[in-house]
């Protein structure tokens, strides 16, 4: 099945500028699922990290997963990205062929190869998919998207932290993944660069049709970006909150503050 055609997200096809203010997906339960988790549990020896997670995520949705340190949110993401396998439970990813179900993960560290130039680093995202000229062109294209087209021939060591993360984003997106898992990718950036990166991430997510799962401990970031915020506490889903706000979302508005308060209350057991 063709994932992209099913999802009504191309702003050009809709009418008027209001179309860029995308309606959040949870409002449309008819959207096909991107993936679903059933009873996912993960134990490391005696320690139970995840204890029965059920989660259905429609295609194209932006989900933020929030929780205190050690609540198992990163483990959940690694299971979703196929880096870890759950002790019990099942993960079902929709879509047809392997290339349509491709998932990518982005980490807090950019993990660029210091000995490969920027464009070559992005081409790693096309390993086994495209080679040579084709890979080169696709890489340059995506580098343009993240605003680094003119740095293609430089070494990673000369880039700033935010720029390196943009290269990592380009590498994750160059093969047009179905699911993009983000493990606190902006955690190490300064406050201003973070906001810039959030806007970039939102814009690219709106252009490409991928399902985004963002693990973060920044409540403001979660409310600014996500259609839906999932709070994990003691290995279980403690709160599953849709954020039906229009995009782009302003910083520090009363509405976002209300959602942030709701999430913080739940996190600290005052809900």
């Amino acid at each position: 099945m063709s994932v992209i055609a099913l999802h009504p997200k191309q702003p050009q096809e809709a009418n008027g500028p209001s179309a860029t203010m995308r309606t959040p997906s949870p409002a449309s339960p008819s959207a096909p699922l991107a993936f679903s988790l059933r009873g996912i549990a993960k134990r490391f020896g005696e320690k139970t990290v995840l204890d029965g997670i059920d989660l259905d995520v429609p295609q194209g949705q932006f989900v933020a997963v929030i929780g205190k340190s050690g609540c198992g949110k990163s483990t959940l993401l690694r299971i979703l990205a196929g880096l870890d396998s759950p002790t019990s439970g099942s993960l079902t990813v929709a879509g047809g062929s392997a290339s349509e179900r491709r998932s990518r993960i982005m980490f807090q560290e950019p993990r660029l190869l210091p000995w490969a130039r920027i464009a070559r680093n992005v081409e790693i995202g096309l390993t086994g998919i495209a080679k040579g000229e084709v890979a080169r062109d696709l890489s340059l294209q995506i580098l343009k998207e993240v605003g680094l087209a003119d740095r293609a021939e430089e070494w990673p060591s000369v880039l700033s932290g935010g720029q390196k993360q943009r290269v990592a984003l380009a590498r994750a997106l160059v093969a047009h993944p179905f699911i993009l898992a983000l493990d606190e990718p902006l955690g190490a950036l300064d406050a201003l660069t973070r906001i810039e990166m959030q806007q970039l991430l939102e814009r690219i997510w709106q252009q490409q049709s991928f399902t985004a799962v963002l693990v973060t401990h920044d409540v403001t970031e979660a409310v600014a970006l996500a259609d839906r915020v999932v709070v994990i506490d003691k290995g279980r889903i403690a709160l599953d909150l849709p954020i039906p706000l229009a995009r782009p979302r302003g910083h520090g508005s009363a509405e976002t503050a209300r959602f942030e308060g709701q999430i913080l209350d739940r996190l600290f057991g005052r809900g």
């Binding site: 990518r104 993990r111 790693i124 390993t127």
Partner: protein, 260 residues
């Protein structure tokens, strides 16, 4: 641009100022009789010996023999060390099987084996090759192993996530990551290569630079002895410069090798 080029030349020349001054002082001290001719020949005499031996072809022949010995010993020992370093860095089984043994052998100073080596090989080529190879083996082995073990596991995980094959993972992530450490081993090994050869040729040889120096000692030709020592120094410097050039060419990405 022209200014930076001049600066580079000036910086390179700066390193030669001190040796030049020392040679001038040495010549002056010899001529004034401050240094006796039986202790130290003046630089002019060393230069004369250089021209004399160059003309007779003796010098070129001996340098050739010594260089050939050094390089073949280096190639043998370096290749084995590199192979063991790779194998033990990549495979836990191989490391468990061989590392303890290699570390034990490493703690024997290889020059302590000279009497045994003379018993085994006499003073033939094999003796020198064996000693040089043994001396070169360990720095290459240890640093290759360290380099591979030091590759950032997060980068290796990244490579796996993006579907790199084992071959791609090795050539694109592990080997480049280990290269700076391998170069440290290489430069260290080049130093050991010359050291071992000098000792071996001085004690047991019938040709080569070390032999030339020992012959000269017998005939009290102190200028030739000093000439041999100087040539060793130059060859050592040459080998080191070559390693640094290789380093600069392959480690362009490294912040330490980027133009400031």
């Amino acid at each position: 641009m022209a200014k930076t080029a001049t600066n580079t030349i000036a910086r390179n020349l700066a390193g030669w100022l001190l040796p030049a001054a020392l040679i001038l002082a040495w010549e002056a001290a010899s001529r004034s009789g401050l240094i006796s001719e039986s202790v130290m020949a003046p630089p002019s005499a060393v230069l004369a010996a250089f021209i004399r031996l160059l003309a007779s072809g003796e010098l070129v022949e001996n340098i050739g023999i010594s260089t050939l010995r050094a390089l073949s010993g280096f190639a043998i020992g370096g290749a084995i060390g590199f192979a063991f370093g790779l194998a033990n860095g990549l495979s836990r089984l191989s490391r468990d099987l061989t590392d303890t043994t290699l570390q034990m052998v490493r703690n024997i100073p290889h020059l302590a084996l000279i009497p045994l080596v003379i018993l085994w090989f006499g003073i033939d080529e094999e003796a020198k090759l064996f000693l040089v190879a043994l001396g070169v083996f360990f720095p290459i082995y240890v640093n290759t192993l360290l380099g591979i073990q030091g590759v950032d596991p997060q980068l290796v995980e990244m490579g796996r996530i993006y579907g790199m094959s084992r071959r791609q993972l090795f050539f694109r992530v592990i080997l480049p990551g280990a290269l700076p450490a391998i170069f440290v081993g290489l430069r260290y090994a080049l130093g050991i290569m010359w050291l071992t050869l000098i000792v071996a040729e001085t004690i047991a040889a019938s040709s080569g630079l070390g032999y030339m120096a020992m012959q000269a000692r017998e005939f009290l030709l102190i200028d030739v002895v000093i000439l041999s020592i100087l040539i060793y120094a130059l060859l050592g410097k040459l080998a080191d410069s070559f390693a640094r050039l290789l380093e600069r060419l392959t480690l362009q990405w490294h912040p330490a090798f980027q133009p400031a």
